[in-house]
Amino acid sequence: MNDTTLYRSLHAAYDQIATGSDGDLPPLAEVHPLDQDWIEEVNQKNQAQRIKLETELKTYTSNMIKESIRMAYRDLGEFYRETGDHAAALKHYTKSREFCTTSQHVLEMCLSVLELLIEHRNYAHMSTYVFKADAALDAASTARSGPASGPTAPANAAAASKDKAAAEREKVQSKLDVSIALSYLGQGTFEKAALAFLKVGPVKSVGDWVGTLTASGDVAIYTTLCALATFKREDIKSKILDDDNFGVYIEQEPYVRDLLESYMGNRFKLMLEILDRYSTRHALDLHLGNHIANITNMIRSRALVQYFQPFASIKLERMSTAFGWTVEELERQVVALIQAGEIQARVDRQNKILKAKETDQRSALFARAIKSGEMMRVANRKLLLRMRLQQADLIVKAQRGPGGGHAGDFLSDIYSM
């Protein structure tokens, strides 16, 4: 990384926090004095590099060599990405698309853009490039398998290259899956995110993205949290716990398995404790940070709903011990859920009891039938009048000439009284 601006802002940020923390943190000078020499050196290098790349681009453009122009644009894009100029990098990457001759190149471009977008958490744009890459991937793999299966190639060599192609394809596909899943997560559609994460292939297929853009442990955490917040119990079991491929991811972060198991075993108190214990880790996560509060709330509500399901009535006190909250806290949560329509029950505030709602289906049905009958009658009458009005062509039409509303006179007449 040759990003001097980032270095400076990091420095400044630390300085600000250190001065504000009353000596809890060692002052900046002790930790890392600003390396002015390095900055200058890097800036000079960057400058030289940029001029070099731009001259190259100019030469290629004047020579009209498509492939070289593409590579020049790509190199410039990469250069800007290194130096932290996000907008310029994106511009050059996309510019290179015009000079792509094969779908392989398009694919390469899309992946670079996706890396860039993930780095900068630009979730809204990601899906566009994933779809573009998908199309390019299809085109590329058919193009590649085409000549390989030609009659001249020996049979086993063809099979070998086919395997290789398939492996290659799977790698790219996994990357695309990770991207689309991250974009769903970033935009707060957790259920889709969880499903997309589950589609990601084995760990090694993600290749060089592991460790640079995302970690396999992260995938496990994202998936689990999103799934807990949105999936049904049976789905969690069949799609997550019974999935061997995903099991490998879970191994990376053992606490995730505890979390899942405590949820499935209805030990909600333990589950909430685990969530709480790792809350700092979640909050500091690049992609998860913005949503963790929301996700935690959703998980909590689901747990409450599930806990109450089998009961006709339950003491709030008992429920609060199961969740490890105070009665007041629990009541607040439960009331919020009732008002959102998640729990069909009512709170007996005086005796601290939660009671399931009972409805007399028969009389409810009668009431509903009568109400809809009445509504239909009224609607019928109004519709008939409307029909008659239309038959008589009594329709409000645009006025000829500006100003002076026909209703205006009448209104002012009434108002003036």
Partner: protein
Amino acid sequence: MSQAGSSASAAQAGQSSQAGDALTVDTLVAQAVGGVDTATISKLLRDTAPKDSRDSALISMLATGEDPLRVLDPVQHTLVYLHILCARLNAATPSRPGLDLIEAFCQSFSPEQARLAPQKVTALAKAIVRVAHDFGHDQFALSPLYHLVTRYPPSLACLTTIHPIFVARCVATKHYTLALPVLAVPITTIDLKLSDITYSDNLTYHYAGGVALGALKRWKEAEEFLEICVSSPAQVPAAIQLEASKKLVLIQLILYGKTVAPPRYTNAALQRLLKASPYGVFAKVYPQGKAQLTKSIQKDVDLFTNERHIGLIHQAIDRAPRWLIQKLTSTYLTLGLADIAKEVGLDGEEEVRSIILSMIESDEISATISSDGTVTFSDPVPQISKVDVDRMLRQAQEQTKLLWELDQTMNGNRDYLTKVRYLSVAVGDERRC
């Protein structure tokens, strides 16, 4: 001036050689009294041109110096009487008839004859309003108009031009209850032959009706009238429709505590306009505690006051605690009065107690208050008797019959048949090809 006018028109009539010198009041009255049938007279009056000279002919006195209105009988000679009356009311002469004469006419005229000249009836209604206004007493117009509106159409369910004039006068003079007998009959028939109505008559009638019913706090009916006004067919929304939809929103808040989506056929632009207005904003934050609501309307108070809706806004705000309490009933089984006061944003327990009592009395919630101030809510069990069910079934049968009849008339409708034949011919052609 009247002398000159009449002689000129007489000369013209002579030239047109149609009905000889029929255009003097004398011949007209003579014919009417002489028992010539009304169809002939109606034709005579209609064919006479030009219109203004006819009117000036009609305002003159009889050759004998008698007042034609004294000679004619309002019941038997309604048509001629009506024409002369209108001409006189519109003319700037001192021969304008008094209100007692108009009143007597409105009470006794023959509807069958009057229906031959719908325009004259409209003109009469408008003239009545003007005359009463000139007298300085707007409410004088109400009684003749009431007779006119109830006697002229074959049934009150037929919309006429008098409907909006009458109801608007009632609203303007704040005599809301007078309009009730008319408003009680919903409009179901539109007949352009009966009365020369325009779309704005329909809009004005339902708007003014909504205002009158709203003023009487008959919210349910007011809602219906305003909804008809709002959802009337429109290519572009009329100003009065927007005004009506503002009132509609406020009345729905008072009535249901929330807004109800208008029928699908409502003009879409109207909804957009309303949503963007302060009324849409108010409906969005409703219901909340009184204090918050009052604060939220603070910056628009001037606008609400200018548009004369501040009263409805305050009524809606006054009812907000009730909706909040009603919401609590679906969440809680028991609550202390103090808790309710806190949740709803009211100050004293006593205030809460009185609101809850009045809500129980008006059947809005079913609850009991115990001596220690605990309110126990219970589910209201809807009581449906056999009588209710029978009544509903009967109504449904009536509906079906009405729709069946409508279907039959539709089958006989000329436009419909042409269209169907055209379509079937087109299909036939295709088959042949």
